[in-house]
């Protein structure tokens, strides 16, 4: 009764794979059995956990009892465990990885509910495993090719707390970059800071090629705080016989989006004698060149005999701002439901001036608007973007939107820090065909076909609810039923449910015209969304 499914990819978390194989290998003399829990992401069934309970086991059979299944069902309904049953597992003590007749029978029993459920078989001697489905017509097993099965180690804590599709990679499966945990980033930053400090110390102990010389530099680093948009002036008192030139060598050390450091080119500029002050040389770095994290510099002086002297190397902290390390944030936007995205701005070196948030280019897809907050003070606030999509907004899958944080110190100068927001605009659609049917008594009306199209990213944790008004007016000679006939998902992640609404009219039914309204609703994050179709007609002739 189900259509052929195109979902043939499986992603199983490394921990679950390990857990199931370990359970099988620890009991080499009897079979183990349990269920696989998870969800679906596009064309991939994602297995996130495994559960078991009391089972009757020997070397050739294992039965997970009804009571164990009832407990697991209760845990799912009451959300004590995440996701739903997407498969089952059991081990074979002998014979290796294959599907026995009993296994196919069990698999078909589960496939009645969904054709996407899979069977995982583990050889308890070798730890090898395989995934299968079954063909209801031939009663044969359908192995899922090993290249369609991925086992991967997930991040220790999922970034998204709710169970949702966007968390998972899409099929076909190129190995996605694993999310970097916060701990890794902190360690990386710490190591880089140490490395930079080390580099600066090394430079500080280096002195120029000069030998005995009368050259001398007296320099006090300028006093901060410094920040982007300001100039920095360096003064040095330089004395010596036959002094040729005084040079400021500086570079900007910035921060990469990933947390690494960008070390700018070393720029050497001549420092000029301040006419009014004897022996004082000076240079001002223009504001357009100043940015965080640091200005790293030293001053050197040369005389006519090729003697040189160099100051210590200094590091000035420059106040700046940027988005927190994670530069992309995926966000699902459901049409007609307002959503919020929270992004973290990161103040660098004590920066505390207002920053304006605006939508850059590319902007959001048609029908989607993003409201940005009034100027924010980095370090004090999260940036909250309010995203709304009209009912006509374009369904868009992974649409990149640039959000910019802008600091304007005055004049035409602007400092812009962009971040990419990945939006998925989603909804579900609903149609009924035909809208009118007529039927004679003692007949069944041709079915009304209800099609629910669920676009990628749409989350309805409590499933879809079909409610039909008008049925209460039917006389008792007319009965109805609603049957799920098909469930399909394409490789774009769009799911289609097909229900048939069938009316059966007994012989004594009166001639009449009935009107129905069919409403499909789903509770999703931020509110309930519903679509209805009214004036569905059934005429008894």
């Amino acid at each position: 009764m189900f259509g052929v499914s195109s979902v043939s990819y499986i992603a199983i978390s490394g921990q679950v794979m390990e857990k199931v194989v370990k359970e099988a290998r620890e009991r080499p003399d009897e079979q183990v059995v349990g269920v696989l829990l998870g969800g679906q992401s596009g064309g991939t069934i994602v297995i996130e956990d495994a559960a078991t309970g009391a089972a009757e086991s020997n070397s050739t059979h294992a039965t997970l009892t009804g009571d164990s299944i009832a407990k697991i069902a209760d845990d799912i309904i009451n959300k004590r465990i995440r996701g739903s049953i997407v498969g089952w597992y059991h081990s074979h003590v002998r014979g290796g990885v294959f599907m026995s007749e009993t296994d196919v029978e069990t698999q078909l029993k589960l496939q009645q509910f969904s054709p996407l459920v899979t069977a995982m078989v583990v050889d308890s001697q070798t730890g090898k495993s395989g995934f299968f489905r079954a063909d209801s017509k031939t009663k044969g097993a359908i192995p899922i090719p090993p290249q369609n099965v991925r086992s991967e180690v997930a991040a220790p804590t999922p970034v998204t707390p709710s169970f949702g599709q966007a968390m998972y990679p899409q099929a076909p499966p190129p190995t996605p970059p694993m999310p970097v945990s916060t701990r890794t980033i902190l360690v990386a930053v710490l190591l880089i800071t140490l490395a930079v400090t080390g580099g600066i110390i090394a430079l500080a102990y280096y002195r120029g090629p000069g030998t005995a010389t009368t050259l001398a530099i007296t320099h006090t680093p300028p006093k901060g705080p410094f920040r982007i948009g300001n100039t920095i002036t360096f003064d040095a008192n330089v004395t010596g016989v036959d002094l040729k030139n005084v040079t400021l060598a500086y570079r900007i050390i910035g921060r990469e989006p990933t947390g690494g450091l960008i070390v700018g080119d070393l720029i050497k500029v001549p420092m000029l004698l301040k006419a009014a002050e004897k022996d004082t040389y000076s240079y001002t770095i223009p504001s357009s060149e100043i940015s965080g994290l640091y200005v790293n510099y030293y001053i050197s002086a040369f005389d006519g005999s090729n003697n040189a002297v160099r100051s210590d190397v200094y590091n000035l902290e420059v106040g700046d701002f940027d988005w927190a390390l994670d530069r992309t944030d995926e966000q699902i936007v459901t049409r007609t439901i307002a959503g919020e995205v929270r992004l973290d701005l990161l103040p660098i070196n004590g920066f505390n001036l207002p920053v304006t948030i605006r939508v850059g280019s590319p902007g959001p897809p048609a029908g989607v608007s993003i409201r940005t907050p009034s100027p924010v003070v980095p370090g004090q606030e999260q940036v909250v973007l309010r995203i709304t999509a009209t009912g006509d907004a374009e369904i868009a899958r992974r649409y990149d939107v640039t959000i910019e944080a802008v600091y304007s110190p005055g004049g035409a100068v602007q400092f812009i820090r962009p971040i990419t927001l990945v939006l998925t605009v989603t909804d579900f659609g609903f149609d009924i065909q035909p809208r009118y049917n007529e039927v004679k008594p003692d007949h069944e009306a041709p079915p009304y076909s209800l099609t629910v199209t669920v676009h990628d990213g749409f989350r309805a944790p409590n499933a879809f609810k079909v409610s039909i008004t008008g049925l209460e007016k039917l006389e008792d000679k007319i009965s109805w039923r609603l049957v799920l006939v098909e469930y399909k998902i394409d490789d774009q992640g769009t799911a289609k449910f097909n229900y048939n609404l069938v009316f059966k009219v007994e012989s004594a039914a009166k001639k009449d015209l009935y009107l129905f309204t069919v409403k499909i609703s789903a509770a999703t994050t931020g509110g309930t969304i519903s679509h209805d179709i009214s004036s569905i007609q059934l005429k008894i002739i």
């Binding site: 059979h61 997970l64 009571d67 069902a73 002998r94 014979g95 069990t106 499933a463 409610s467 799920l484």
Partner: protein, 83 residues
């Protein structure tokens, strides 16, 4: 009274809303929801609160409250290795 029946098997799970009277038996309800879900009644059971419901018992005897959430699940899951 209104009850919900969920079959948490498969990535997208169905939820059926049914109207029953307290004197309906669990067996009668099972027949009805099996038609909606398109599953063979012989292979499944209705469950509530972590236990399998007795099919000859009534809704009131089973102690299911208004808006109670039942689960429709297989009686058991059996793995075998006899070829």
């Amino acid at each position: 009274m209104k009850l919900f029946v969920q079959a948490p098997i498969g990535p997208q799970t169905g939820l059926a809303e049914i109207d029953v009277i307290p004197d309906h038996t669990i067996g009668e309800i099972k027949q009805q929801v099996c038609t909606s879900f398109g599953v063979d009644p012989a292979t499944v059971a209705l469950m509530y609160g972590g236990i399998i419901l007795d099919e000859s018992g009534t809704v009131s005897k089973a102690g299911i409250p208004e808006n109670g959430q039942l689960a429709l699940m297989p009686y058991n899951i059996i793995g075998g290795s006899a070829r």
